[in-house]
C-alpha cells in the first residue's frame, strides 16, 4: 500500500513535467505582455522594453524555461510580477476560501445527490425518477453565472435572508457567519455537481440492483430499503466516488466563475486575474498547483476504493 502510494506519487512526476512545459510554452507564445501592463498608459516603448529586460522576458524562451524549471526543482513557484509576492504566499493567502468552498460544495452535493440518485434508481421509470433525472439534466443546462445571479437576486436582494457576497473565514468570524456567506456560492456551484453525481448514482445503483447478490438478498427475505442501503449503495460506491474525482476538474472551472460572482478571494480569481494581467509566474504556478491537486485527489480517490471494495488492494 505504502509502496503503491509512493509509486503513484512518483509517477505524477512525468505528468507534472508535461504540464509544466505545456503551460510554459503556451504562455510564452502569448502576444500579451506583462511589461506593457505594468508600464501603464503613459509608458513609451523604451520603458516597456526596459521592464521586459528586467523581468527576464527578453531571454530566449528555452533559457527562461530552464530558469523556471531549476526554480521549480527547488520547490519555488516563483514571484508574482505585479505584487512582488511569492506565488506560494499568494496561494497560501487564497487557498482557504477555495478549499472550504469546494469542500462544502462536495459535501452538500454528495449529501443531496446520492439519496436522490438512489431513490431514482430504486423507483426507476417512476415519476420520481423522471423528476430527479429532469433536474439532473437541467442542472447541466444552465450556466453557473446565470444561476448565481438568480440566487443572489432572490435570496439576498429580494428575500434579504442571506448576504450578497463575500467570504468570512470561520476562524475569524465564527462558523455561523461563515456558513451564511457560503450558502449562495455553494448552491450555485453544487447544482452541476449534484446533477453529475445523481446521474452516476442512479446508473450505478440501477446496475447493482440487477446483480445476482441483490437477488440473493431478496431470496433471503431482506426488505427493499435495507437492500438499497446495505447491498446496493456500497457496491455502487466506486463509480460514484470516481465521478466525484471527475467532478473536481469541473469544480475548478466552476470556482473561477463562482468566486468572481460572489466576490470570494480564492484561487480561481487569482488565476483569472493573473491570466488577464499576464502575470506569468502566477499563472504557471497556479495551473501547476491545480494539476497537482487534481492528481492528488485522484490518488486519494483510488485509495478510497479500498474502503468500499475489499477486492481492491494496492
Amino acid at each position: 500500500m505504502l509502496t503503491y502510494v509512493l509509486k503513484r506519487i512518483l509517477s505524477t512526476v512525468p505528468v507534472m513535467a508535461i504540464v509544466a512545459v505545456l503551460v510554459f510554452m503556451l504562455l510564452r507564445l502569448a502576444p500579451g505582455d506583462p511589461a506593457a501592463v505594468i508600464a501603464g498608459d503613459y509608458a513609451t516603448a523604451e520603458d516597456v522594453e526596459r521592464i521586459r529586460t528586467q523581468l527576464g522576458l527578453n531571454d530566449p524562451i528555452p533559457v527562461q524555461l530552464w530558469h523556471w524549471l531549476v526554480q521549480l526543482a527547488s520547490g519555488d513557484l516563483g514571484t508574482a510580477i505585479f505584487s512582488k509576492k511569492s506565488v506560494v504566499e499568494l496561494i497560501g493567502q487564497r487557498i482557504e476560501p477555495t478549499l472550504l468552498l469546494s469542500l462544502c460544495t462536495i459535501v452538500f452535493a454528495v449529501a443531496v445527490a446520492v439519496p436522490l440518485g438512489t431513490i431514482a434508481a430504486w423507483k426507476s421509470g417512476s415519476i420520481i425518477d423522471r423528476i430527479v433525472m429532469l433536474f439532473s439534466v437541467g442542472g447541466f443546462s444552465v450556466p453557473v453565472f446565470v444561476l448565481a445571479y438568480c440566487l443572489i437576486y432572490v435570496l439576498a436582494m429580494w428575500l434579504k435572508i442571506l448576504p450578497v457576497q463575500g467570504y468570512k473565514s470561520p476562524f475569524d468570524h465564527g462558523l455561523l457567519t461563515f456558513l451564511r456567506h457560503m450558502v449562495l456560492p455553494v448552491l450555485a456551484l453544487s447544482v452541476i455537481f449534484i446533477a453529475l453525481i445523481a446521474r452516476m448514482t442512479r446508473a450505478s445503483v440501477m446496475e447493482v440492483l440487477e446483480e445476482d447478490y441483490v437477488r440473493t438478498a431478496r431470496a433471503k427475505g431482506q426488505s427493499e430499503w435495507k437492500i438499497l442501503i446495505h447491498h446496493a449503495l456500497r457496491n455502487a460506491a466506486v463509480p460514484i466516488v470516481t465521478v466525484i474525482g471527475v467532478g473536481i476538474a469541473l469544480l475548478i472551472g466552476g470556482v473561477v466563475v463562482t468566486e468572481s460572482v460572489f466576490n470570494i478571494p480564492g484561487l480561481g480569481r487569482l488565476v483569472l486575474d493573473a491570466v488577464l494581467a499576464r502575470d506569468y509566474p502566477v499563472i504557471q504556478g497556479l495551473i501547476l498547483f491545480f494539476s497537482f491537486i487534481y492528481i492528488l485527489i485522484n490518488l486519494i480517490i483510488d485509495l478510497s476504493y479500498t474502503l468500499f471494495d475489499p477486492r481492491i488492494r494496492y
Binding site: Y213, T216, K220, G221, S223, H230, R234, F308, R311
Partner: protein, 538 residues
C-alpha cells in the same frame, strides 16, 4: 422415496410473459410436486421455463413476469395469494434458493459470515452472539474448513466451491422445508461439482428437506435425482422417477434429449497414419505476469514444458479442470499469445517465436474455433463478410472467396442465403457452425477447437460434434480438441492428453486412458464425472 406429504405442490401454473417476448407464456399449465426428503430434478432445453418456475415459487420474478393461473402450495399455503411482506417472511424461513453463479450471488463487499448472519437477523430474534454461533454451526455443517476464520473472509478470497457452500449454508440456516437450486454446479469444475452434489444429497437427507433441482446436465441428474420433470417450451412434457425417465423415456423430446447425451464410453476410432505430424509442440512454456516496469504481478506458470504431436486426420483431446492451462496452450499455438519458450511446428515451420508479420503467412494453416459462439462473430458484420475475410486477406479474389463460403455453408448445414444475415439472426448452434465454416474457409491444416461445444445444449452439441468429425475426415484436418467434458472427449478424440496446473500428466489413446488411467489426477477426474455409471437410453 415419495410417500410423505409434498413440501411443494405446483398445480396448473401458467406464467405470462410481457409483450414482445418470444412466447406468450413462460410456463403453461404445469403441475408437479416435491416431497419432503425428495430431490426433484427439472430438466429441459434452455428457455424452457425452468428458472421462471423457480423464481415464481420464490416470488422473485420481475414485475412484468406474472403468474396468471394455478397455485403454488408450499406446506399448505398458496404462495400466489401471499402479500409482498408475507412472501418476504416465507423466503428464507420456509424456502431458500441457491443460484448458478457462486461468483456473483454473494455480495462482494460484505464478509461471508455476515451474509449468512443477515438471514438470521431478518427472520429471528436471536442475540448477536447467538446469531454468530448459529452461523458458525451451519458453516461447519457444510464442511467449510476453518470456518471461524472464514466467517471474516470476503467472497473473492474463497474458491468457487467454497462460495457455493456459503450459499448452501445461507440457504440452510433456518432449515427451510424447501430448497430450490437453479443450476448450482454448472459454473464449477467437475471435482468441485462432485463434492457439492454430495453435500446437497447429504444435507437433504439429514434435514429432510425437499429439493427442487434445476439443471440441464444429465450426468448430474443421473447422480442425484429421485424424480425428474422434463420441460420443453414452457410445458411439462414428461415426469417420472429417475429410472423411468433416464432408461425408459416415453416422450419423443425426452428421448431425443437423452439420446444426445454423449456416452462416457469412448467411441471406436479408425487407425491414424502416424507418418506426417501436422502440429508439433515441444517444451512450450508460458508464464503470465512477472516483472513489469512498475508493478510486480503475481507470476502464473500456465504451461510447463508441454509437448504434443497431432497427425493428419487425428483428433487430440486436451482435458483438465478449469485453470489447468488448456486455453493458454491453444492461444500459444495459434500465436494469439507469445509462448515464453519452446518450439511449435506447423507443417514443418517453427512459429513459436517469429514476429507477427512473419507469422501471417502461416496463419492460414492453423485456425481456431472458440468456446463462445455468441462473441466469436462480429455482431456488426454479416456472416458472409466474416467468412470471406480470411481468404481475402491472403489474396483470394472476392468472387472465389464467396463461392467457397457458399459451399462451406452447405457443408455445415446452413443455406447459402444465410450469408447475408447477421450473427444475431442465428441460434447458438448455428453460430458455432458458422465459426467452423469460417475456420475452414482458410483451408487450414490444423484446427484448434477450444471448448467449442461447451456452451451448447446437449442436442446441439451432438450435431456440432458430428460436424467436426465429418470435416476432419473430409479435409484431412489435424484437430486439437480442448474440453473439460470427459463425455465429449470420449466421443471425438483419438488420443487424449490430461493437464493439471500447466503440466501434461498423462497422454494416450482415449479408450486406454479411460479404461486404465495411470495418473492419480486422471483417476480423480474420471471419478468425478457425474452419472458416469448410467447408461442413458439410446
Amino acid at each position: 422415496m415419495t410417500g410423505s406429504a409434498p413440501v411443494l405442490e405446483i398445480r396448473n401454473l401458467s406464467v405470462a410473459l410481457p409483450k414482445g417476448a418470444d412466447r406468450p407464456f413462460a410456463v403453461e399449465d404445469i403441475s408437479f410436486t416435491v416431497g419432503a426428503k425428495e430431490i426433484v430434478c427439472v430438466v429441459g432445453e434452455s428457455g424452457s421455463g425452468k428458472s421462471v418456475t423457480a423464481f415464481t415459487t420464490m416470488g422473485l420474478n420481475p414485475k412484468e413476469v406474472k403468474a396468471v393461473k394455478g397455485e403454488i402450495v408450499l406446506q399448505g399455503e398458496d404462495l400466489l395469494k401471499k402479500s409482498v411482506a408475507e412472501m418476504r417472511r416465507l423466503r428464507g424461513e420456509k424456502m431458500a434458493m441457491i443460484f448458478q453463479e457462486p461468483m456473483t450471488a454473494l455480495n462482494p463487499v460484505i464478509k461471508v459470515g455476515e451474509q449468512i448472519r443477515e438471514m438470521l437477523e431478518i427472520h429471528t430474534d436471536l442475540s448477536l452472539a447467538d446469531q454468530k454461533a448459529r452461523v458458525l454451526e451451519v458453516m461447519e455443517d457444510v464442511s467449510l474448513p476453518d470456518h471461524v476464520k472464514m466467517y471474516d473472509s470476503y467472497p473473492h478470497q474463497l474458491s468457487g466451491g467454497q462460495r457455493q457452500r456459503i450459499m448452501i449454508a445461507m440457504a440452510l440456516a433456518l432449515e427451510p422445508g424447501l430448497l430450490i437450486a437453479d443450476e448450482p454446479t454448472t459454473a464449477l469444475d467437475v471435482t468441485t461439482q462432485a463434492q457439492i452434489l454430495e453435500l446437497i444429497k447429504d444435507i437433504q437427507h439429514r434435514h429432510g428437506t425437499g429439493v427442487l433441482f434445476i439443471t440441464h446436465d444429465f450426468g448430474v441428474v443421473a447422480e442425484i435425482a429421485d424424480r425428474i420433470v422434463v420441460m420443453q417450451k414452457g410445458k411439462v412434457v414428461e415426469q417420472g422417477t429417475r429410472d423411468e425417465i433416464l432408461l425408459r423415456p416415453q416422450h419423443p423430446y425426452t428421448r431425443m434429449l437423452i439420446g444426445s447425451v454423449p456416452s462416457m464410453e469412448p467411441s471406436h476410432r479408425a487407425e491414424i497414419d502416424k507418418a506426417s505430424p501436422a502440429l508439433i509442440a515441444q517444451g512450450v512454456n508460458k508464464t503470465y505476469g512477472g516483472l513489469g516496469l512498475f508493478k510486480k504481478t503475481r507470476e502464473v506458470h500456465a504451461n510447463k514444458d508441454v509437448n504434443l504431436v497431432v497427425h493428419r486426420r487425428e483428433t487430440l483431446g486436451v482435458v483438465g479442470e478449469s485453470g489447468s492451462g488448456k486455453s493458454t496452450l491453444a492461444r500459444c499455438i495459434v500465436r494469439l499469445q507469445d509462448p515464453t519458450s519452446g518450439h511449435i511446428e506447423v507443417e514443418g515451420a517453427d512459429i513459436a517465436r517469429i514476429s507477427e508479420s512473419a507469422m501471417r503467412p502461416h496463419r492460414r494453416d492453423i485456425q481456431i474455433v472458440f468456446q463462445d459462439p455468441y462473441r466469436s462473430l462480429n455482431p456488426r458484420r454479416t456472416v458472409g463478410q466474416s467468412i470471406v475475410e480470411g481468404p481475402m486477406n491472403f489474396g483470394v479474389p472476392e468472387a472465389e472467396a464467396e463461392a467457397r463460403a457458399k459451399e462451406l455453408m452447405e457443408i455445415v448445414g446452413l443455406s447459402a442465403e444465410a450469408l447475408d444475415r447477421f450473427p444475431h439472426q442465428f441460434s447458438g448452434g448455428q453460430r458455432q457452425r458458422i465459426c467452423i465454416a469460417r475456420a475452414l474457409a482458410m483451408q487450414p491444416k490444423v484446427l484448434i477447437a477450444d471448448e467449442a461445444v461447451s456452451a451448447l445444449d446437449v442436442s446441439v452439441q451432438a450435431q456440432v460434434l458430428d460436424l467436426l468429425d465429418d470435416v476432419r475426415e473430409r479435409y484431412d484436418l489435424a484437430m486439437l480438441f480442448i474440453t473439460h467434458d470427459l463425455r465429449v472427449a470420449a466421443q471425438i478424440c483419438d488420443r487424449i492428453m490430461v493437464m493439471q496446473n500447466g503440466v501434461v500428466v498423462e497422454e494416450g489413446e482415449t479408450a486406454k486412458v479411460y479404461a486404465d488411467p495411470q495418473h492419480e489426477y486422471t483417476r480423480s477426474l474420471l471419478a468425478a464425472a457425474p452419472g458416469r455409471d448410467v447408461a442413458f437410453a439410446k
